[in-house]
Amino acid sequence: MEGGRLRNQLLTLASVGILFALLYLASRYLSDYQVRILNNGAIFITLAVSYNLINGITGQFSLEPNAFVAIGAYTSALLTLSPAEKEISFIIEPIIWPLSVIQVSFVWSLVAAGIVTAFLGFLMGFPVFRVRGDYLAIVTLGFGEVVRSVANNLQRVTNGPLGLKALHNYTNLWWAWGFAVIAIFFIVRLVASSYGLAMKAVREDEVAAEAMGINAFRTKLLAFTTSAFFEGVAGGLLAHLITTISPTLFTFFLTFNLLIIIVAGGLGSTTGSVIAALLFAFGGEWLRVVEEPMSIGSLQIPGIPGMRMVVFSIALILLMIFARHGIMGRREFSWDWLLERSPVSRVFRGGGK
């Protein structure tokens, strides 16, 4: 049985429907803790697929997510807090004028977060893409540090080291997973378009791509700005999930986690990023077990806090040495692939071929 675009689209629509049905059940029957993990997972999916766009698909080794997530989180938080709440929070120095009176609804704050982050990402792209390879990594890392430094010092805008507290818990399963679905959809379509082909060409061989007439700089800038948009909105969602943000939340640690995710999933594979993000979000919770006391037989191993990160670091190093391509390599999921293997197709094919 041949594939068909209509069939594939219907299957995708059906699975999204099933997802939302499951989310509805989850929102009714799961505990708060489990719902929180699900929300976390959705946000990580969004972050992973957008980070994968610049790192995996366009091949530019950038370390920017913590900067963009920070910008998005602060933007969104500053917009949803009411003026009264801001006055309470900003105890050292009052907040500057337009921000002290603005308050918008959650959805608009997310839109604003995305746009502001995308704009700043666009501006950042000009100096950043003058360099390549290792230097790109260090420059984007530096930008992350600059953003964190600014957030720490700009007392009148970000409340400095105190951060913003008592944010409303607007993020729920529908927002988080809804946006994750939008992000995945958008990025998959982008990669399948001519822009995506250009990005892959730039990844494979930038000089040859330029020779074919692709403007490498514009392509990289497009990927960077798109990543920035989604990371910014994800930052807003994250802020309203955790309800407290401060500069210490957005260190290189966050970028490192995302890096592990996209590498483990397969650099360049959106499917891989989704799978790895879920594994990370759920596995991270599960791995807390190494921080608890364990008993193997009669042997008592005391719980060691912080072991989780040591395990992650070793896992990353081993991953790079032995399984560089990650789970999916560069392959993507497709309905054709799945149906070819399922018993259903054999029924339709009839006996023998």
């Binding site: 430094s149 992650f312 040495i321």
Partner: protein, 295 residues
Amino acid sequence: MDLQLFGQQLINGISLGALYGLIAVGYTMVYGIIRLINFAHGDIVMMSCYFAFFGYALFNLPWWVAFLGATVLTTLLGILIDIGAYRPVRNAPRISALITAIGVSFLLENFALVVWGGRPKAFFRPDMFAEVVSVGQIHILLLGVWTPAVTIALLFALLYIIHRTKVGLAMRSVSRDMETTRLMGVNVNRIISLTFALGSAMAAAGGMMWAMKYPQVNPFLGVIPGLKAFVAAVLGGIGNVVGAVLGGFLLGVAEILLVAVAPALAGYRDAIAFVILIAILLFRPTGIMGQSLPD
């Protein structure tokens, strides 16, 4: 700002810059030979501080024995990292090596966090370094005089090794063309390990003087100095040892003087280094003494 304040801050800047220079040398040597930014280098500095601390505090060694021991241990650590983590990915795409470097960096940081705890430990400062000398109105710790002196001395020693010995010749050759050097019968793996060893030794010297200057040792102390030292290495021209030290001095002086001139910007002290980095990469990517950027 009067002359005496300027002089005081200049001396502070030189002293800080010498530390950046020592750490930058390790970055530049490793990059020059295998084109890898060793993200873990700053954490090697941190480990050297812990080694020295425990030598003095736990084993009650005289301070100079603790320093020597720490240098040896740090050198061994550098070699271990090269053999264990970087050698297997040497022929992999560059991004894999970079990610491995980040992984090693995090491993060292969290290892220190788990084993030695996150609470800062108070580093010792031997009397020889703690004395304050005054030249007119300018006061300076003796440490601040020793640091640039030791840096220059170590720099000369390193230059001697690189330019006047056979292993130095091999190192320069490997950085120029690894395959051909291998064909010439040089054990490239050993030379690369030696490079890591030398870089780590310099980092250990820098680390211990850093810990004497800022006597709070914690698992993340190597992060910011490491990044700034990398900026210094790029500033001076990556791959060039003299450039690294020069870049270190320039960066240290710039950082201190900027904060002295504009105290309101003091909170942005760390960000200044990155602004300098971005400016360098935009306007003079090869750095001051630079060779052309490899791709």
